[in-house]
């Protein structure tokens, strides 16, 4: 994932590794002259034929996608076992529908984020773009069909105009990003940070203008809502978009150029690639996918609340892309991986909700954070030859109490509503005092002990 951290070391070690007698010394000047004379070079052909089939399986097994599928299955199985309601087992249809719906809503604009990340940029503004698109959609409904809007039944024309208008607004924001980045020369992080704060504020202003001072646009239209409510419709849009993006990124010249630009922008430019235009395309895809999500949210909730809608979603999209194997340094990543990243992320959030049982989107951020750290750590580990010590260093030791405290507190937060959390364990000696948080404390101590042992092992190995 972020395996290009030390390219020099990597390259040189690989070169050293290849220098054995078997790989050298067979294409020499004599071979070159034989090419000049038109003689075939058999060795090259043989090597290509031999290496294709076994390396394909190895590639598949070591791919991020394969590992994600395994991890996803593990999460599903664990949830079936641990969830006291056994929802996944008893009502798989309903559970799947919920997860798919969440995945699709995240996936729609994560596609755009992934394209931008692969092309070497970053888009921090997608959450605000969603809010703005929803606002623009509502505002256009009011402007085009004010009578119908008040009655709760807008004309088809109004919906079409509003839809096209929202998508156009996305394309315009994408163009703005591309202009700021390529012409003004701002770093993508700064350019989209500006729109992250700017677009939301703009949407709030727009809402107040069209709603005469109210801070949200409400529109109770059952018809519009029912279409969106059916998970199939949104899913179809998502599948079509995902397939189109996948095709763009892995089968077309444009996609290859996007990968190349993300990996080495200067080399891409010197290879005759029009990098500015590619950046425009990437940022437009990013904002347009976000604007589609905005329309879906508006239809789904029958309202647009620009001050809270989709706040912080951009980070979920970036996290999903990273979990799916995209490197923030650009050039690396797949669309399939990103979709799996969304599915995995939403599933694990859902799973924790099921297991913990509180209706807690409160813990979403914690879960996303932990999953991102774990996913990137392990995919990085696979790429490295030398293992780095996690706990066997000064900072490593200092991190152990932090991590164990976090573990203990999280344990308490997650399970404090459970009945067993307050029951005195039967093993507990009578003469010792009993207090309610004991399970959390024990859990924290166990975690600390495990990490400490791990640290000792690392020190010993060193």
């Amino acid at each position: 994932m972020v395996e290009r951290v030390q390219p020099d070391e990597f390259v040189s070690s690989v070169q050293d590794g290849r220098s054995g007698p078997s790989t050298r010394s067979w294409t020499r000047l004599s071979d070159l002259t034989s090419v000049a004379r038109g003689l075939p070079l058999k060795k090259i052909d043989n090597r290509c034929m031999n290496s294709s089939s076994p390396s394909f399986i190895r590639k598949l097994l070591s791919s991020v996608e394969f590992k994600l599928i395994l991890a996803w299955l593990a999460v599903v199985v664990a949830t079936i076992l641990l969830d006291s309601g056994h929802t996944y087992w008893n009502k798989p249809g309903a559970a799947a529908e919920l997860i798919i719906r969440q995945t699709v809503l995240l996936g729609l604009f994560a596609l755009g984020s992934a394209v931008i990340i692969i092309s070497g940029g970053i888009d921090l503004s997608s959450g605000s773009m969603i809010a703005m698109s929803a606002t623009v959609f509502g505002a256009l409904l009011i402007v085009v069909d004010p009578v119908g809007f008040k009655a709760g039944h807008v004309s088809a024309i109004a919906i079409i105009v509003a839809t096209l208008g929202s998508i156009l607004s996305g394309a315009m924001v994408g163009t703005l990003h591309a202009w700021l980045i390529t012409c003004v020369g701002l770093p993508p992080f700064i350019a989209t940070l500006a729109t992250l704060v700017g677009l939301r504020s703009f949407s709030r202003g727009l809402t107040q203008a069209v709603m005469e001072g109210k801070s949200q646009i409400d529109f109770p239209d059952a018809g519009l809502r029912n279409i969106i409510k059916d998970v199939n419709y949104v899913s179809i849009v998502f599948v079509v978009l995902a397939l189109a993006t996948w095709f763009l990124m892995s089968r077309t010249v444009t996609g290859r150029h996007l990968h190349a630009m993300g990996g080495n922008e200067q080399a891409a430019k010197l290879s005759g690639i029009r990098t500015e235009r590619l950046k425009w395309l990437a940022y437009v895809i990013g904002s347009v996918t976000a604007s589609i999500v905005g329309i879906v949210y508006f239809a789904d909730t029958s309202s647009a609340k620009p001050d809270t809608l989709a706040r912080g979603y951009e980070l979920n999209a970036i996290a999903a892309s990273v979990i799916g194997g995209c490197s923030l340094q650009g050039g690396v990543g797949t669309i399939f991986g990103t979709v799996l990243g969304c599915l995995f992320l939403r599933t694990i959030i859902d799973a924790v909700n099921k297991i913990v049982g509180t209706g807690a989107d409160v813990y979403e951020g914690m879960i996303v954070g932990i999953v991102v750290v774990l996913a990137v750590t392990f995919s990085q580990r696979g790429a490295r030859t030398e293992r780095r010590p996690f706990f066997g260093t000064l900072i490593g030791w200092a991190a152990i109490p932090v991590l164990s405290l976090l573990a203990g507190l999280s344990f308490m937060l997650f399970f404090r509503e459970k009945e067993w959390f307050f029951i005195r364990p039967t093993m507990w000696p009578q003469f010792l005092p009993w207090f309610r948080g004991i399970y959390a404390v024990v859990f924290g101590i166990i975690v600390a002990g495990l990490l400490f042992v791990r640290g000792l092992i690392e020190v010993k190995q060193k």
Partner: protein, 504 residues
């Protein structure tokens, strides 16, 4: 006499491949011991073992007769061994003095940095090396040659009596090289033992007392310099004689493919005012035109102007096959039949995370695709055609480009250019960081392309190389053409004189 370094049966495996296999030799105290070998011969692995970067290896390392086991580069430094890497290890944003004492800063009793003391000590060290680099200058403002001296000063400040230099002249101009030789002489009078890694025969034969040759990770031989010849060493390095090249002297009365008239590139904010001034040249079909010049003379800038890759638009005229062209983007130049292989392969040429196939076809995807969709079979066969005609050593088109050696990566990039069917091929220092064997192959390749009618402009930081491959050599000095030599007239001395001619 007891050897200062004794390498005993040292081996190192990467996966299934022996990067080093049972290598043993001794380095005597106070000598300059050159280690030679092609890229991939195991030189850099050996250096990493000596300097403590690689910790797990077979065999034994003895320093002054004592077996040692370094657990880090700092350990090696404590033992008096410093390494100066090919790619320098300096913090560009810090001053010279701060770099020299990085990690070992002098402090006053309160723990506050004592800047003055470090500056004074740095100045003393630099004076010992006969340079006037200011200890307060930012490293980023120094030229590469000066930066290297800062590294050497750092090694001196560590009281190192063993210095490992890994291809120290690879990025230096001729005058900086001469200065480096002086510094090396000075170090040797202080009794410093130097282990000198290099490809370059003339350097080694000028400096070394003894030469050790490695090939394919194995020790070949250690010889006294006085007992051997460059030819014999080259033979040991590649395991065969380098074929003497027969220079093609046939004059080609061919059409002009590329012409520049009064090409100038402004340099705003610089006292000189231009990077290139009034450069007029003609390039014929089937000709190899060498461009010589010191660092900063404008070689790269000239090629970039012709390729439409310069930051500012150049003034003057560029004609391709008699037609006036103005390129604002490399894409336009490529459409008109100009292709360029850039100087800094890693930074400006390679897509490190892509396969050999993707690296070769990236410029010519429109030829292997229909309505923007890449035809996989067509792409692979295009890549294969270049792999074959450039005889790239690879496990196939799906191998990652980073698994190839430098020379083979360069061949892939030349293949990438060839796929665009260029009429003019611009090669900016194409053999930089490429081992001797691959260099010879690249020369032959240029020869073949030229005889097939390709017009080639080539620059190089090594004069002998230009003399070998070029039909004609132009010399740049401070952005101005100061000399033109036909193959028969060209001598190293004449070119150097033209290259150092000052502008009035």
């Amino acid at each position: 006499m007891q050897p200062i370094i004794s390498i005993r049966n040292v081996g190192k495996q990467f996966g299934a491949v022996h990067a080093l296999d049972n290598v043993s030799f001794d380095v005597a105290s106070g000598e300059l011991h050159a280690v030679m070998g092609e890229n991939g011969a195991g030189k850099s692995t050996l250096m990493k073992i000596l300097s403590g970067v690689i910790r797990d290896f077979e065999g034994e390392l003895r320093l002054r007769g004592e077996p040692v086991q370094f657990s880090s580069t700092r350990d090696a430094e404590h033992a008096g061994m410093s390494i100066i890497h090919q790619e320098l290890n300096l913090v560009e944003q810090l001053s010279v003095a701060a770099n020299i004492f990085l990690g070992r800063e002098s402090r006053s009793w309160l723990g506050i940095l004592s800047q003055r003391k470090m500056d004074d000590r740095a100045a003393a060290l630099l004076a010992e090396l006969d340079t006037n680099i200011s200890p307060r200058a930012l490293v980023s403002t120094l030229r590469v040659g000066d930066q290297q001296l800062v590294e050497i000063a750092k090694a001196l400040s560590l009281q190192s009596d063993i210095l490992i230099m890994d291809e120290p002249t690879s990025a230096l101009t001729e005058s900086e090289v001469t200065r480096l030789y002086r510094v090396i002489d000075k170090l040797r009078t202080r009794g410093v033992t130097i282990l000198y890694i290099s490809h370059k025969m003339n350097e080694v034969f000028r400096l070394a007392d003894r030469i050790t040759v490695l090939r394919d990770g194995k020790f070949v031989q250690t010889v006294n310099r006085t007992d051997t010849t460059p030819r014999a060493i080259a033979h040991m390095m590649v395991g065969r004689d380098l074929e003497p090249r027969n220079k093609h002297t046939t004059e080609r009365a061919a059409s002009v493919v590329l012409e520049t008239r009064h090409l100038s590139l402004p340099w705003p904010g610089h006292s000189r005012g231009w990077r290139l001034k009034d450069v007029s040249l003609k390039l014929h079909r089937g000709e190899i035109l060498g461009v010589a010049g010191l660092m900063g003379a404008g070689r790269t800038e000239l090629l970039e102007c012709i390729f439409g890759a310069s930051d500012l638009p150049p003034q003057g005229e560029i004609l391709i096959e008699g037609k006036l062209r103005r390129f604002s983007h490399p894409a336009q130049a490529m459409q008109s039949g100009v292709a360029m292989v850039t100087e800094d392969r890693k930074r400006l040429g390679l897509f490190a995370h892509m396969t050999v196939r993707e690296n070769i076809t990236v410029c010519a995807l429109s030829d292997v695709s229909s309505v923007g969709v890449i035809g996989h079979g067509r792409e692979t066969s295009a890549a294969m055609s270049q792999i074959k005609s450039m005889s790239v050593k690879t496990d196939g088109p799906e191998a990652m480009i980073t698994t190839l050696s430098g020379g083979n990566q360069q061949k892939c990039i030349i293949g990438r250019c060839m796929l665009t069917n260029p009429k003019v091929l611009l090669l900016d220092d194409p053999t930089r960081g490429v081992d001797i064997g691959a260099k010879a192959e690249l020369y032959l390749l240029m020869e073949q392309l030229a005889s097939a009618g390709m017009a080639i402009v080539v620059t190089s930081s090594e004069l002998p190389e230009l003399l070998t491959v070029s039909d004609r050599i132009l010399v740049l000095s401070e952005g101005v053409l100061t000399g033109e030599f036909s193959r028969s007239e060209a001598t190293e001395q004449g070119i150097m004189e033209a290259a150092t001619r000052a502008q009035v």
